[in-house]
């Protein structure tokens, strides 16, 4: 595999993590609270694809979106709404508990061995063989992420809903005072977050078809690190952080010598630690936003 292949694969994994980062960042943007249970929405979506394996692919994907959006809204109603006004730490712990509980639920319902999703398997075929070795799924991931992130930008900056979301993200009280219906905006944030989780579930099961109870958790941990790396309090920076973590991880996996591959995760996290020591507010945050270190 050559440099082009390495870079395209790195961009592809970065794109996938950017999508996960968006789903976390959207909720954080309007509520200032981290949803650690977002990984379980992805797992829920992946299991739904397995459950609907006998349906036509398009219908299974549509239903996967419905399942993820419903799951996301359920989290809003069952966890975030009752904890409105609670500290961010309280919600963090609550969503961690929900995540842990849901993982146990998947274990009870689906068992620990995993279930194989076999949709869109043709996307694993190569576009370019030989040294470049590119698969359709990598290009589709990049394309889908570009379209969705572009669409999100349009929604945020060219629509009334986007303006209201930005207003809530900027100052919730002021937005309320000028008549923005906060509940509606928050609901839309969860809908978009659920839809983003569905996209991730579909794309991730193409490359990793065995769905286990920790399917989403494995993805969300890395993505959350990316969100922190980019800068938690800005959707664009959080998304870019997600992209960077995926890109760096994939690139390290490609360029490190075989015997050193075991250090990929360690080196990725070392990179994050160094960045946060130098730029505590995030790699992409303006210098004025740097937080006090003591």
């Amino acid at each position: 595999m050559n440099v082009v292949g390495y870079l395209v694969n790195a961009i592809s994994l970065g794109a996938l993590y950017a999508l996960i980062a968006v789903s976390v960042g959207l909720v954080f943007g309007v509520l200032r609270q981290i949803n650690l249970a977002q990984g379980e929405v992805i797992t829920f979506g992946a299991y739904s694809l397995w459950l609907m394996r006998s349906l036509p692919t398009w219908l299974a994907i549509v239903l996967c979106f419905a399942v993820c959006i419903a799951g996301s809204l359920l989290l809003q109603v069952a966890v975030f709404r009752p904890l409105r006004g609670a500290s961010a730490l309280t919600t963090l712990v609550a969503t961690f508990g929900v995540s842990y509980g849901l993982e146990a639920l998947w274990l009870i319902i689906f068992g620990p061995s995993g279930n194989t999703v076999s949709m869109l398997t043709n996307l694993n075929n190569t576009v370019v063989g030989g040294a470049v070795a590119l698969r359709w799924v990598t290009l589709v991931e990049i394309g889908v992420a570009a379209v969705l992130l572009g669409g999100l930008l349009l929604l945020l900056f060219r629509t009334s809903l986007g303006m209201r979301m930005r207003a809530v993200a900027e100052d919730l009280r002021a937005a309320r005072l000028v008549g923005v219906r906060i509940g509606q905006v928050v609901t839309w944030a969860f809908v978009l977050s659920g839809a983003s989780a569905a996209v991730v579930a579909v794309l991730a099961t193409v490359q990793t078809p065995l769905v286990t109870p920790t399917f989403g958790l494995n993805l969300i941990i890395f993505a959350l690190v990316g969100v922190v790396l980019g800068g938690l309090d800005h959707l664009g920076r959080a998304t870019a952080g997600g992209f960077i973590i995926g890109f760096v991880n994939s690139l390290l996996g490609s360029i490190l010598p075989e015997q050193e591959l075991v250090f990929v995760t360690s080196l990725t996290f070392l990179f994050v630690v160094v960045v946060l020591v130098v730029r505590p507010a995030g790699l992409l945050a303006p210098r004025s936003a740097d937080v006090e270190r003591v």
Binding site: S113, T116, T208, L210, L252, V264, T265
Partner: protein, 406 residues
């Protein structure tokens, strides 16, 4: 009138037949009652996982062992004493594992039975060893269930799983036998077991004349499996040996290698047994091989194993991997040790017999232990091949002279 007398005659004949059958039944029941074990039960406390990641291994093994115990008990038990399992679900929680082991002992267990991972089982093993009990695991795949991990007290601990030296040796023999004389070795560094198997394979394969083209590795969860698969696909080796288990990285690896045009054999140890993880595409799930304890695909060469599998399936407990036979195997091993120790249940005496096992016949094949190996060495394996998406039994293969390490 004729009709009535015919009815009377028929009733008389039916009554006679019923009486004869009834007497035969009573006599049969009496005979069976006489044969069934009546003594004080031998209680085996099984502290296993029935919830989490070890469930696919632990649960079929204990269920098969319980079915086997019923047969043993019906045939008179062990020196007249019935076998009784008391099963505790430790959910792989260390504190629960320890307290369950203590509970089992409080409920009369004389022998402890643990989960098939020595690390998860350690709290229970330590309790058992502290109480000088025989501690067995049906399918732990390392030699750490014994003195190598627990020092001198570990002499009381044994696993009826295969030692990784055996796993590595049988894979090396398989490749050489098939004429695959060069290999790419891919190790998932998640567990020591995978590293041990691949290391043993590498050493044995090279001694047999095989050539290692390259060694690659990843760790489940580090998100590099696709890149590693891409490297493995292009090495030009005759086969790829993959030491991992049925985590999501396994189908991801296989899918990547196949879709990049590499159709050569992918070979793995028992840990990839089962077939449930395979991608559904027949072109991707093709030319995949593994060595295991038994075939769960209805074609095991041993009729007793086929029959046991059918029984478990009829009970809604169809095992996913061939590891289920290690349950009855461990039970047979325990029974042999008790009989050889003249009925005592004292841990040191049972362990003293067990360590002398040499080709003790069991359901899964001959079992041998030694002071060095408290896991099974040299037992023949079932070789399974996945062809066009369908796994099937190919042949029996012994690990040969390198089974105990080269």
């Amino acid at each position: 009138m004729v009709h009535r007398s015919w009815l009377k005659a028929a009733a008389a004949v039916a009554g006679s037949i019923g009486l004869v059958l009834g007497m035969a039944g009573v006599a049969g029941a009496a005979a069976a009652h006489h044969k069934a074990a009546k003594g004080k039960p031998i209680i085996i406390g099984a502290v296993i996982d029935e919830t989490s990641t070890m469930k696919p291994f632990d649960q079929p093994a204990i269920e098969a062992a319980e079915i086997w115990a019923k047969k043993v008990n019906a045939a008179g038990g062990v020196l007249g004493r019935p076998i009784e399992f008391k099963v505790f679900n430790d959910q792989l929680q260390p504190s629960l594992t320890r307290s369950d082991a203590l509970k089992a002992i409080a409920q009369g267990a004389s022998i402890l039975w643990t989960t098939c991972d020595v690390t998860f089982a350690t709290p229970a093993i330590q309790v058992g060893l502290a109480h000088h009990m025989l501690v067995v695991s049906p399918c732990t795949g390392t030699n750490e269930m014994g003195p190598s991990r627990f020092g001198a007290p570990g002499k009381l601990a044994f696993s009826f799983g295969n030692a990784p030296t055996s796993d590595g040796a049988v894979l090396a023999r398989l490749l050489m036998q098939k004429g695959w004389k060069s290999a790419t070795v891919v190790t998932d560094k998640l567990l020591t077991y995978f590293v041990d198997v691949c290391q043993n394979f590498t050493t044995d394969y090279q001694k047999m004349g095989g050539k290692i083209v390259t060694q690659l590795s990843y760790t489940t969860g580090d998100h590099t499996v696709t890149q590693v698969a891409q490297k493995a696909a292009s090495t030009g080796a005759a086969a790829t040996v993959l030491c991992t288990t049925t985590t999501p990285t396994l189908p991801a690896f296989v899918t990547s290698v196949r879709t990049l045009g590499n159709k050569k054999p992918i070979v793995g140890p028992w840990a990839i047994d089962g077939g449930f993880w395979e991608p559904k595409s027949a072109t991707i799930s093709n030319n995949i091989w593994w060595a295991t304890y038994a075939s769960v695909f209805g074609d095991d060469p041993n009729p007793q194993i086929r029959s046991l599998y059918k029984k478990m399936k009829s009970l809604g407990e169809a095992p996913q991997t061939g590891g289920f036979v290690t349950g009855p195997t461990a039970l047979e091993g325990i029974i042999t040790a008790i009989k050889r120790a003249h009925g005592t249940l004292k841990g040191p005496k049972l362990a003293a017999q067990m360590v002398k096992f040499h080709d003790v016949p069991t359901l899964s094949g001959p079992v041998s232990f030694s002071a060095k190996f408290h896991a099974v060495v040299g037992r023949p394996y079932r070789i399974i091949e996945v062809k066009n998406g369908k796994p099937h039994f190919v042949e029996m293969l012994s690990p040969g002279k390198y089974a105990g390490g080269a």
